[in-house]
Amino acid sequence: MPLNARRSWASDLDFEAWFDDMRAQAVRVARRIAGDRADAYDLVAEAFARALARWDKVRDLPYRDAWLLRTVANLALDAVRRKRPRVEAPTPVEAMDVAALRLTLSHALETLPRRQREAIVLRYLADLSENEVAATLSVSPGTVKTHVKRGLASLRGRLSSPFEELIANVD
């Protein structure tokens, strides 16, 4: 059922255009964290739906794109935690099994303070620039650098290889 059928409710074409612009990137972020393709689309649908439900407000947010990606990332982290059995403190990653790696990374991210986790997720999973992350989180680029630096340092103690290298293996 196309959105046109709901035009009176959905109010305008802006949402569809934005959806077309952001869909692929949102699915990519969801897949990098949650893995499963069907799950990824569910998460993306949920995030877009939250935006559409209050589109009159979300439409004009200066950091709308990043808001969406952050919502997708948060939903995906939640989904991973919900679906997987509890894993104790991640052990050094030896097998490059992607599912296990994804699980390990998501658990490691969960241990970070919220701001550090959001900065790293937006920077490395959503591939936003430091300036874009700063705009999303309403902080300065310098603060983003600090969050990312501290977050990566903290993750380094929990992972066998640098986070930046491991994340490249879950595409």
Binding site: M1, P2, L3, R6, W9, A10, E16, F19, D20, R23, R37, A38, Y41, D42, V44, A45, E46, F48, A49, R50, L52, A53, R54, K57, L61, N74, L75, D78, A79, R81, R82, R86, V87, H107, E110, P113, R114, R115, Q116, T143, T146, H147, R150
Partner: protein, 353 residues
């Protein structure tokens, strides 16, 4: 197995979900939606009110002077933190590395710890009983599980108040001023975020142990630290984009305050006639705003000295304020606002008094 939806299928799913979210919001039965952003454009007209408010309650100086914590060591009795009316409480309970500690509000120093560091999860979300003798808090039980416990400020073992059942996280306890009602957030980890029934606010009668459950909005619904009014008949809940005052008996929203730009923080009861929150809608600025919980009418608006202001907590008499500023480390630095003086207490993971 191909599960990838087409563009139109995905759009249809989004529209259906969005309609569901809107329906749920409508079902909350708001008595009225108050657009505070529009009202915020009339700040000059309120400044007189703000000054009167400052004179009569002495909440926040404009601008307040930040006074460094005293280095004087003072021995404090630690059986109670109850304030003498007119004076701020002598102690607060802070979260320090997963442990609860008594902190002197005069010096900001930790006087002693009242909980131990236990495997499985730290203590968080402390809240004091009205008589100031006991603290309720949330303790983690591993991944995605947490129970509520209480402990006397005099020491002794922790008592489990609400066990973690069914893989649930129980957090954000809050007590009514009469001490009879406990409210907390209950989250089921086996349900996806946004799923109906995943997050709810529970109101428990501590005398009969009967509970009433109100489902929270799926959009990141939370329960503030001071969520109940004095007799436990109204509960304050916060969600992405709005917060609401609900009737505990029916669960219906009596007031919904729309946060169109996601810039309101830390709504909290001051007393039964006012709710306070931090307004950060103006870039680089923050203000303490009071509204009427029945009508949403704006009562006063006072500038805060830092745009990083993120948390407010009035003591039980509503005369003194703890103000939290979120720092880059993720911790918060807390200040005690006492009349025209603002004193830095220290950096903690949470605090109550």
């Amino acid at each position: 197995m191909s599960t990838e939806p087409t563009r139109d299928e995905l759009l249809a799913r989004i529209v259906a979900k969005a309609q569901r979210i809107r329906r749920r919001r409508a079902q909350m039965g708001a008595a009225g939606v108050i657009c505070m952003v529009a009202a915020a454009l009339v700040v000059p007209a309120w400044m007189g009110v703000a000054r009167r408010d400052h004179k009569t309650t002495g909440i926040v100086a404009n601008p307040p002077s930040v006074v460094a914590p005293s280095t004087t060591t003072t021995t404090m009795p630690h059986t109670t933190t109850t304030a003498v009316p007119g004076a701020p409480p002598r102690q607060a309970v802070a979260v320090v590395n997963g442990r609860l500690a008594l902190v002197s509000t005069a010096t900001g120093r930790i006087e002693r710890y009242i909980t131990e560091a236990l495997p499985g999860g730290g203590a968080s979300d402390p809240t004091l009983t009205p008589d100031g003798t006991t603290v309720y808090f949330s303790r983690g039980d591993g991944t995605c599980a947490a129970h509520l416990a209480s402990v006397s400020l005099d020491g002794g073992p922790e008592q489990i108040v609400v066990a973690s059942r069914d893989n649930s996280v129980n957090s954000a306890p809050s007590l009514s001023a009469d001490g009879r009602w406990l409210t907390y957030r209950h989250s089921l980890c086996n349900l996806q975020a946004g799923a109906p029934g995943r997050d709810s606010v529970v109101i428990r009668d501590l005398t009969t142990r009967q509970e009433r459950r109100i489902e929270l909005d799926p959009e990141q619904g939370v329960v503030p630290q001071r969520a109940l009014n004095s007799d436990g008949t109204r509960v304050l809940t916060e969600s992405l984009g709005f917060f609401s005052v609900r009737d505990v008996g029916s669960g219906k929203s009596l007031l919904v305050v729309d946060d169109a730009n996601y810039c309101f923080r830390s709504p909290t009861w001051v007393d039964d006639t006012s709710i306070a929150l931090i307004d950060t809608c103006t870039p680089g600025k923050a203000a303490l705003v009071r509204i009427d919980p029945a009508t949403g009418k704006h009562l006063s608006d006072v500038p805060l000295f830092s745009a990083k202001s993120s948390q407010i907590l009035f003591e039980r008499h509503g005369q003194h304020l703890l103000l939290g500023l979120t720092e880059e480390s993720g911790r918060s630095t807390y200040f005690l606002v006492d009349g025209t003086r603002t004193r830095r207490l220290g950096a903690f993971d949470g605090i109550t008094w």
